[in-house]
């Protein structure tokens, strides 16, 4: 009862948020490629994956990271992203809200099987880590000329 009274703002909105995420997971077939190694919805950092015929783009939404502390590796088509974010609050302050993620994280993503592990690039800008992996040429659609 007291939990309901005191935690009203946070809990109610979190419940809505949770509900929305569950609905999304239910209706959203887009969550398939993460497979058995995927993290729970809402884990830090959020990730988007896009595919075009030539490349696969992975966007990791992780603000306030030191790019040097990031560990990104690709083993065949298994991309793993690990790092740590330290959110420091100065001593002697009164803290009202701590919602930002603090600690270490790891996410492993299964990319399409035709990616080329030798052609990867990554850059970090405005708090988004953008990883581009080229796809192997033999898998790219070819136009066949009709004579």
């Amino acid at each position: 009862m007291f939990g309901y009274l005191t935690g009203f703002d946070r809990d109610l909105f979190e419940q809505f948020d949770q509900m929305r995420r569950e609905m999304d997971a239910l209706f959203n077939s887009l969550s398939a490629p993460l497979g058995i190694r995927s993290s729970a919805a809402g884990s830090f950092p959020a990730i988007n994956i896009g595919a075009s015929p030539k490349q696969v783009d992975v966007y990791v939404f992780a603000a306030g990271l030191d790019p040097a502390s990031l560990d990104v590796s690709l083993q065949q088509n298994l991309l793993s992203i690990a790092g740590e974010r330290k959110v420091e609050v100065p001593e002697g302050t009164q803290v009202y809200r701590r919602e930002r993620f603090n600690g270490s994280f790891r996410r492993v993503i299964t990319l399409p099987e035709d990616v080329d592990p030798d052609q990867v690039s990554a850059n970090y800008r405005d708090g988004v880590l953008h990883i581009t992996v080229q796809r192997k040429e033999e898998h790219q659609p070819r136009k066949i000329e009709v004579k």
Binding site: P33, S52, F61, Y96, R97, P112, D126, V128, H130
Partner: protein, 129 residues
């Protein structure tokens, strides 16, 4: 915006059935106070300095931002945790804060705001003789 378009292209048949509605993200924040004022930090990944607005109207502080993400042509979404690119969040301020002296800094997608307290309201240490 362009991200939304990519999403729509990937699942256009499903999207048509749903009403058109713009999603707005609520950024996570840390808020803490010391003798000089209140510090607010917000995670806004993908937002550059020029796509951010911090506004004070009366006692209301509103943070609005737009994330921009580069995408190659013909991209289809395989997976998406983030399905919106707009951020918005508001806070009610109290009178002892000097709203015309708010300092804002943006670095690596993290917004830091410092809201100073009026000098006359800052706690002073009284020396006992």
């Amino acid at each position: 915006m362009s991200e939304n378009k990519a999403m729509k292209a990937a699942e256009s048949t499903q999207m048509q059935a749903r009403p058109e509605q713009e999603m707005i993200l609520r950024p996570p924040v840390d808020i803490y106070e010391d003798a000089s004022g209140i510090t607010l930090k917000a995670d806004l990944p993908g937002v550059s300095k020029d796509r951010l607005s911090v506004q004070v109207e009366g006692n209301n502080l509103t943070i609005e931002a737009q994330a921009v993400i580069e995408m190659p042509e013909g991209m289809e979404a395989l997976y998406a945790d983030v399905t919106a690119t707009r951020f918005r969040r508001s806070f009610t301020l109290s009178n002892e804060l000097e709203t015309d002296k708010i300092q804002a800094e943006m670095k690596d997608g993290v917004l830091s705001l410092h809201l100073p307290k009026r000098a006359e309201l800052q706690p002073r240490k009284i020396q006992v003789q």
